[in-house]
């Protein structure tokens, strides 16, 4: 097992060569914000929140898919990166209809946490106010597209961990929508096993357990970690 030494924000660390910058940073207590990344599912580099600077490379690199390299000098917190992150979070808020005060996830939401961590108090961009549906046809769960950030965690967890591939995306660009089966209401999606993994995977209040009211929906990511560990390592750690 080859080991690489590198610095992240000036801190010298060592990492296994197959590790990504994100994994190496987390192991060393350095936090890099992420949204589309979900342990146990494939990394897609889509949200662009984990972009970092690497000395000598003019382009910004997504930490979630960039492997560590010998002598790398990584910077995760430059002024430019902080500003871009803030802009990305503001764009996400302006893109759909996010109203924290009325959201089941209020107080436990990853998007809300991101907004706080980047110091966003309002979005400088005009709200797009798209028409989005709420689907509560499933007997246990619901999906509110107003709060969807198109991170694709539900799609990947359903495909890669549950194996049902109920979720996918339809359309493209700003018109992309998360769909179940042949764009049928969730409750009619024959492939859905009602396992609830997508509920735990969703970073916002978009996918929720029915019956939760404002601020009551708290996702339990450890349930997913339990399954992923069991699948990958054959260890059942409760």
């Amino acid at each position: 097992m080859a080991v690489k030494t590198l610095t992240i924000d000036g801190k010298a660390i060592s990492a296994r060569e197959e590790q990504t910058i994100l994994q190496a940073a987390r192991e060393n207590g350095i936090s890099i914000p992420t949204l589309c990344q979900l342990n146990g599912t494939s990394d897609i580099g889509a949200c662009r929140l984990c972009l970092v600077e690497v000395a000598g490379i003019p382009k910004l690199l997504p930490a979630c898919v960039t492997r560590v390299g010998e002598g790398m000098e990584v910077s995760t917190d430059s002024e430019r990166i902080r500003e871009y992150r803030k802009m990305i979070v503001e764009l996400l808020f302006a893109e759909r209809n996010h109203v924290c005060a009325a959201c089941v996830e209020n107080g436990h939401c990853e998007l809300q946490d991101l907004a706080i961590s980047v110091g966003m108090d309002h979005s400088r961009y005009d709200y797009m106010n798209p028409k989005c549906a709420v689907d509560i046809t499933h007997k246990r769960y619901g999906i509110d597209h107003n709060r969807c950030v198109l991170c694709g965690r539900c799609v990947r967890v359903c495909d890669e961990i549950e194996g049902a591939h109920t979720w996918d995306f339809q359309g493209r660009g700003a018109n992309t929508r998360t769909i179940s089966d042949m764009f049928v209401p969730w409750g009619q999606a024959a492939s859905c096993t009602s396992c609830g993994k997508c509920v735990q995977a969703c970073p916002t209040g978009a996918i929720f357990r029915r019956g939760s009211t404002v601020a009551e929906m708290q996702k339990d990511r450890t349930r997913l970690d339990f399954i992923v560990t069991a699948r990958e390592k054959k260890q059942w750690i409760a």
Binding site: A164, F169, Q170, G171, R172, I179, M182
Partner: protein, 178 residues
């Protein structure tokens, strides 16, 4: 060899794609295409092209049939069919007018042609007149920039068009419908 741009075949007759797979010749032809690709999941786009040529548009039942045949999740088939603008999930009109909105056509006034047809048919680009006679579409660039602005009328590329000339042509379609 004629200069046609993927002229959509006429829309499916009554019953559309819902007909029983066994009784409909078009399903046999679709089956042959899927067989030629050995029902491989990665032939999905090729199969959708064939399906649209045969049926005119992609109805949900048809997409489900393809999903089952290629053993692909339904949500992925729907996702692919809606990602690519060539595929239409709704029936098209008897006639189609496609106005190229490439850069060359744009600087030569293609937008005015679009507005003229929108006003004439009372529809927006991407829509079909309520009587089902004419569909108005815009294209990204059909590569006929040398003769901009270009308009494709029922599959035939015509160049150096004016709003008045296209309006006249489409009026003919709206008038007698044939």
């Amino acid at each position: 060899m004629s200069s046609t741009v993927a002229a959509p075949s006429k829309t499916a007759p009554a019953g559309g794609a819902k007909g029983q797979p066994s009784g409909d010749n078009r399903y046999k032809m679709l089956e042959a295409t899927m067989k030629r690709h050995q029902y491989a999941a990665d032939s999905l786009i090729e199969v959708l092209h064939t399906a649209q040529e045969l049926f005119g548009f992609l109805e949900v039942d048809l997409l489900l049939h393809i999903a089952h045949s290629l053993r692909v999740p339904p949500s992925r088939v729907y996702g692919v069919a809606t990602f690519y603008h060539f595929f239409s999930l709704k029936p098209k009109g008897d006639h189609t007018v496609v106005i190229c909105m490439g850069t060359a056509c744009y600087v030569k006034g293609a937008a005015q042609v679009v507005s003229a047809i929108e006003a004439l048919g009372g529809i927006k680009a991407g829509e079909t007149t309520p009587d089902g006679k004419v569909s108005l579409m815009t294209a990204r660039c059909i590569g006929a920039c040398g003769i901009a602005p270009a308009v494709v009328l029922d599959g035939n590329i015509t160049g150096k068009q004016t709003p008045a000339a296209v309006v006249d042509h489409v009026k003919g379609w709206l008038g007698n419908g044939s």
